[in-house]
């Protein structure tokens, strides 16, 4: 079975230590987490982990069932890239003088649909949201001019299909 990209979505209670418990499941199986994002979800008080891995579907299924087994986890899903709408965000901090010295930078900003978040005398900050390859491309275009700082977020994703968490929670509460 071939390695593929999978996005694992975990709905859970918001509890100290759960991140450690979930990351341990990957550690135990020597699987690298490519990206991780934790945020609130569409349900009040329920957190959502978005974890990206590159491995086989068998392993992914196995990991998801181990994650789901954790007491505070309500449900975990996995999806291929085709089944999700996903993005990442990046920030680029660049010297302000380059805006005037290097005209090409203005074209890069325009073509990449990046946003200028702030501008000061010393530096300006660009925000770019998109697919990994778009951010990588922008990085490569800006790199020759000098990037003072760069950071990229983990993937965030929503699925094309429904994730029936509210119904599950209601069912759990009845049981």
């Amino acid at each position: 079975m071939e390695n593929q990209w999978f996005t694992i979505s975990v709905y859970s209670e918001n509890q100290v230590g759960l991140l450690n418990r979930i990351s341990g499941i990957f550690l135990k199986r020597h699987i690298n987490v490519e990206s991780l994002n934790v945020s609130k979800s569409e349900i009040e008080g329920i957190s959502k982990f978005t974890i990206v891995v590159n491995t086989t579907e068998d392993w992914t299924r196995h990991i998801v069932s181990q994650i789901e087994k954790q007491i505070e986890v309500i449900k975990a899903f996995y999806h291929t890239d085709d089944e999700t709408i996903y993005q990442e965000s990046a920030l680029f901090k660049i010297g302000s003088h380059l805006l005037f010295d290097e005209r090409q930078i203005q074209n890069i900003i325009k073509d990449s649909h990046a946003q200028i978040v702030t501008v000061s005398r010393e530096f300006f900050v660009l925000a770019k949201t998109g697919r990994r390859h778009e951010i990588d491309q922008m990085y490569h275009e800006l790199e020759p001019f000098g990037i003072m700082q760069f950071v990229r977020s983990g993937r965030i994703a929503v699925t094309k299909a429904e994730m029936p968490i509210s119904a599950l929670l209601a069912e759990f509460q009845q049981a």
């Binding site: 230590g17 299924r61 069932s65 789901e68 007491i71 309500i74 759990f172 509460q173």
Partner: protein, 577 residues
């Protein structure tokens, strides 16, 4: 009752008690029906020990000689009684000494609650004296863990801890309690936990899947059952027996399933796995339907997965959805408690007997008898075999004892030859293979089943890993029987060295102390046997003794355990020699 009176009664019942966190812990334990716990005091848990002193009439605290002894005793208690075992320790080394037992309980699904003291909240993260991150350390080896830093959290969290430990697939829970939370006061009321909204312990049986299973079973020509500890944990012994008898299907067991079905039941065909019986292993690859009930296809059971039961349809009866398709891809999963699933399935299956198929197991048994069992039981050399000792114990206890084994050759021999009529009678470290398990686990087992004869059987290696617990036996006067099968070797590793490492006996030779003198040092009656003629008498004397008793049997030094599936080989390539 009048409404006013009723209300008053409710008010009194719900009136909160203002007590310290430490006292609250005791009340929680009592409310959960705990009467015995195992532990070792130390700085960060002292407020709780102070309360244990006050409540010593209601709660029996057993001072073990090491925290590892405490957690194994709690495991033994849980395995023999079917109740939650409790261990308690201080922070730092006290807590880290529990880790092996937690890992053991996790892999063998044993319900245990461990309570550890922790440095006060304001010192957390400061590398204070005896501070260790036991939550971080224990996370991979617990079903759940939690750090309490405020006294008010104690009742709810401990209720949740017991609920999680015993519900669904049981497991160990660790609750770490900072010292300030033990000292501070709270308004105490206790409500047992009835559920956790994100946790569904037992999946609902799928009736369509049960119909499908019944169809497969009724069609099968060579069906075969392999059952595991799920029968014992699910209290499904009667349902299994009824199912086996109506279906006429030969049933084998994993090491942790042992004792769930009477050893002498005509359809009990023996043990699967690396040192299991010949027929149950070989015929795994000849059956047409494999019913795996409450077992998890451990690698020691399956051997090479690529050649495991490929010809058969496989039905997995399993409470933990994460186990389904984990190791063996199955054709049908029956999720749920085996007790419920088997009861639903029973009326849907036809009454049958599979005489010819069962006969194949008998034929294979004959082969195994000629090649292995006869030699084990009636050796033609002077040295005693481990099997002879087990046979004597069977005779002396009439198959009614609880046998607690350690890890290694003696464990395999005991599981192969010990006979049982009652469930929860075989207590061993199966998944983790923890040497040093037997002695402390036997203490807990005896306290969990005071009316049963409890016999710890260990090798000379594992015995010395927790030999300090003789002190606990002596102090508590717990009448456990201890048998050490001494070959002056780490026998199982030596066997592998003989078979696979050209007899290079690297660090497996043991220069042992005088075990009899050591036992006598703890005022435990002790005896050593090295001659066949003395064996039966010595075992009989041990069983007749109303107190603790230590028996060392000097056995043949370089005997091997057979049959054996070499590591990575197929179940059908099991070796008889």
């Amino acid at each position: 009752m009048e409404p006013v009176k009723e209300l008053k009664k409710q008010q009194t019942q719900e009136k909160a008690l203002k007590i310290t966190g430490a006292e609250a812990i005791i009340h929680c334990l009592l409310a959960e029906g705990v009467n015995t716990l195992y532990g070792y005091p130390g700085g960060a848990i002292m407020p709780v020990y102070d309360e244990l002193y006050k409540f010593r009439d209601q709660l029996h605290h057993v001072l073990t000689r090491h925290e590892q002894g405490a957690v194994h005793a709690a495991q033994g208690f849980a395995r023999a009684s079917g109740r939650v075992g409790v261990a308690i320790a201080t922070s730092g080394p006290g807590a880290t000494n529990l880790v092996t037992g937690l890992a053991d309980a996790q892999i063998d699904s044993t319900p245990v609650v461990c309570i550890t003291g922790q440095v006060p909240r304001h010192l957390l993260g400061s590398d204070a004296f005896q501070e260790t991150d036991i939550i971080g350390i224990s996370t991979p080896v617990t079903k759940w863990n939690y750090q309490i830093t405020r006294a008010e959290e104690i009742p709810e969290i401990l209720a949740k801890a017991f609920y999680i430990a015993r519900s669904g697939r049981p497991g160990p829970v660790l609750v770490d309690i900072t010292k300030n939370a033990q000292f501070d006061s709270l308004d105490f009321t206790y409500k047992p936990c009835k559920g956790v909204r994100s946790y569904k312990p037992v999946p609902q049986p799928d009736l369509a899947a049960i119909e499908a299973a019944a169809h497969l079973i009724n069609q099968a020509k060579k069906p075969y059952i392999v059952f595991g500890q799920g029968i014992i944990l699910g209290k499904a012994e009667a349902e299994l027996k009824a199912f086996v008898e109506k279906s006429g299907i030969p049933a084998a067991w994993t090491i942790l399933g042992l004792s769930a079905l009477d050893s002498d039941h005509p359809l009990n065909v023996g043990m699967v796995g690396m040192h299991g019986n010949y027929g149950p292993n070989v015929l795994t690859n000849e059956c047409d339907l494999l019913l795996a009930i409450g077992m998890r296809f451990d690698d020691r059971v399956t051997g090479n997965l690529a050649t495991y039961a490929k010809q058969a349809k496989v039905i997995h009866f399993e409470i933990d959805p994460a186990e389904v398709n984990k190791n063996v891809k199955v054709d049908l999963a029956l999720l749920g408690n085996a007790k419920e699933t088997l009861a639903l399935l029973l009326p849907k299956i036809e009454k049958k007997s599979h005489g010819a198929w069962l006969g194949e197991f008998h034929k294979k048994y004959e082969e195994e008898y000629e090649a292995v069992i006869r030699r084990d039981m009636k050796p033609d050399k002077p040295g005693l075999t481990m099997a002879e000792v087990i046979a004597e114990i069977n005779k002396a206890t009439d198959h009614n004892a609880i046998i607690v084994t350690d890890v290694g050759q003696h464990q395999m021999v005991a599981c192969r030859y010990a006979k049982f009529r009652q469930s929860k009678s075989n207590i061993t470290s199966g998944g983790l293979g923890t040497m040093g398990f037997a002695l402390p686990a036997a203490i807990g087992a005896k306290m969990g089943a005071m009316d049963r004869e409890v016999i710890a059987i260990a090798g000379d290696g594992g015995y010395q890993m927790n030999i300090q617990e003789l002190g606990t036996i002596f102090q508590t006067r717990t009448p456990v029987k201890i048998v050490v099968l001494n070959n002056d070797f780490l026998g199982m590793v030596r066997q592998w060295q003989e078979l696979f490492f050209d007899k290079r006996y690297a660090s497996t030779v043991m220069t042992n102390p005088d075990f009899v003198k050591i036992a006598e040092g703890y005022h435990i009656k002790a005896c050593r046997v090295s001659e066949r003629a003395d064996l039966a008498g010595a075992v009989a004397e041990m069983i007749a003794c109303p107190d603790a008793y230590f028996l060392e049997v000097k056995v043949e030094k370089e005997d091997n355990v057979f049959p054996m599936i070499p590591s990575g080989a197929s179940v059908s390539d099991i070796r008889l020699k």
